[in-house]
Subunit: 328 residues, 2 copies
DNA sequence: GCCGCATTTGGAATCGTTTCCACGGGCCGT
DNA sequence: ACGGCCCGTGGAAACGATTCCAAATGCGGC
């Protein structure tokens, strides 16, 4: 392994000077800088991270804890985040909790002990009993947690958008299938739904179903809704899995989408656009989320001061699954 | 930060002894071991990874390079691998190449420079022009690459299984939509298809379409196949995205699946089982792949000797998308 | 009772970087 | 012309672990 010392010897300078060049210190003459750079190139020198870490107590490593990396939404988030961090010479260590709070705690602890410089967390639930292991910069993504800095979508605005869109088609009985409200995103989506339907005078408690973010629950909830005395003409789900479940529940009852009932998803996954009918869905700005998150984190690491986080506006991806309500 | 020194002082021993306890050296008296353990516990000591790395030149960090982490297949692989490695106290750094060979090379280089102890690679193409950066243990997953040790599914057996299954239903014109054959998995799947159809005497060159592992190509290829003078009665795709594309191409032509045509996927993603009709698909043993891969890697790191890799048998997940061919 | 061997222990060197301190030399102002 | 400054540089200490070497201890055999 070629070290700073070798570079110093080769370039006829000292380790101090080489290090200064490496770190872009201004206190180095142009001629020395060039000789050092040449030597670095010649010897194909790469600084030893372990030694740097030991000296500076920074690892240029961040951790990402997600509840389910097989979900393409989190996959896309991880990809964007990793790319952003690479660009700043940070590595990203992945941990998947499978929606288990216990595993989340373990991951937090393990990553903390490993000495990552910062931790991105998509919390399983929004209850604030997590221990910030070693006072490491912590940034939440997608789902918020207490007063931690984080980047999230404007979930209220998202469902509001969906409600307005459906209302615009003429729907009046708009139901919602919502995720577990222990999770901030689900709670906010429900809130946006409630606020907007109330404002439009079409709110009804009986049109709300709360449960897991899963295909199975989407299906079950949809079946319940279809059993209501006056069935809804449109449904807004809290993610695309639920929406697909709902879609299939309708298919199972012989209902056509969107002729008989309209369905709107949440996430805007690529998958959803490949269904038939393709899903109309509230689309979250995943890569912006990653970019902002990374920026926030780097700021937090470098300066120690918390930027305030961000709430990103969502968009509606128009598919074929929403249309006018059936005439009655 | 509490160090070895502090522990030594607290326990009335020396750094040497503490280190020996930490590393399970046998040359430590029972009484000393207990005092040290007690001190470690009391002071809540955690060894500093950077210092360990510097001294031992091992980072207990591995890298994973995948072509597309938003694909739930690779998501599942990453999750299983991460879990397995955590259990052995290794962290996993994620890199996503978005199927770009250039990004793959960059990632290989960056992870090498970062000093990971080993590298898991799902290569974008199987052409062997990648440079193993610093002679780091390299294990391929899913897709093979030259003579590198790796773990893969038995893709020939997989398609063979699918062909036999469809043949058993009575199908004789069985087509295949295959991934890019620069990729080993696609090449092998094609091979298994060709071998088995030939053995059954139903091979026909005109029933093969090769292209990207994408929804779009699946759809396009299916449309081409449907335009053939004598259309196939069954199709085997090379992954689930292609299969869904094929499904939609059929739907677009008013063909019912499986009454008019049978479709079989490859991967066995959860998504596929949620379609209607649910997809019959060749299922790969993802977590076994991760377990074997991790085992291989750890062996390679500890002993330097390459285990031979493994080829894992696949299974068929029966869905609703395959049935008897239409009577003619 | 003493010598020697085996077992445990303490302490120092080492890994490769960053950073601080001290020194030498050129330049400016008086 | 001389004193003070500032800039560039070399060298050494420090980060916190592992590991080697030598010393100390205890034990059995003669």
């Amino acid at each position: 392994m070629v070290t700073l010392h070798d570079v110093a010897k080769f370039s006829g300078t000292s380790v101090g000077t080489v290090s200064r060049v490496l770190n872009g210190s201004p206190h180095v003459s142009e001629v020395a800088r060039l000789r050092v750079l040449r030597a670095i190139d010649e010897l194909n020198f790469t600084p030893n991270r372990a030694a740097q870490s030991l000296r500076t107590s920074r690892t240029t490593l961040a951790g990402l804890i997600v509840p389910d990396i097989t979900n393409s939404f989190f996959g896309a988030l991880a990809r964007a985040l990793a790319r952003e961090l690479w660009a700043h010479d940070y590595g990203l260590i992945l941990a998947d909790t499978a929606e288990s709070l216990e595993k989340q705690t373990e991951a937090l602890d393990a990553l903390g002990k490993r000495g990552v410089d910062g931790l991105f967390l998509v919390p399983t639930t929004s209850t604030r009993d997590i221990a910030n292991p070693l006072n490491i910069p912590l940034v939440t993504l997608d789902r918020t947690l207490a007063d931690l800095p984080g980047v999230t979508s404007d979930n209220r605005q998202g469902t509001s958008l969906a409600v307005s869109y459906l209302h615009g088609w003429g729907h009046r009985r708009i139901a919602t299938i919502v995720g577990p409200t222990t999770c901030s995103t689900a709670a906010e989506r429900l809130e946006g739904y409630a606020t907007t339907t109330r404002a439009l005078g079409i709110y009804s408690r009986s049109l709300i179903r709360e449960g897991p973010f899963s295909y199975a629950f989407g299906k079950q909830a949809m079946e319940e809704l279809l059993d209501e005395p006056t069935r809804p003409t449109a449904v807004i789900a809290s993610n695309d899995s639920q929406a697909i479940g709902a879609l299939h529940a309708c298919a199972g009852r012989g209902l056509r989408v969107p002729q008989d009932i309209s369905i709107c998803g949440f996430d805007g996954s690529e998958l959803a656009s490949h269904l038939s009918p393709s899903l109309t869905s509230v689309k979250q700005p995943i890569s912006t989320m990653a970019t902002h998150g990374a920026r926030l984190m780097l700021e937090l690491i470098e300066t120690g001061t918390a930027g305030s986080g961000a709430v990103l506006l969502t968009d509606l991806t128009i598919g074929e699954s929403c249309s006018v309500p059936p005439s009655h």
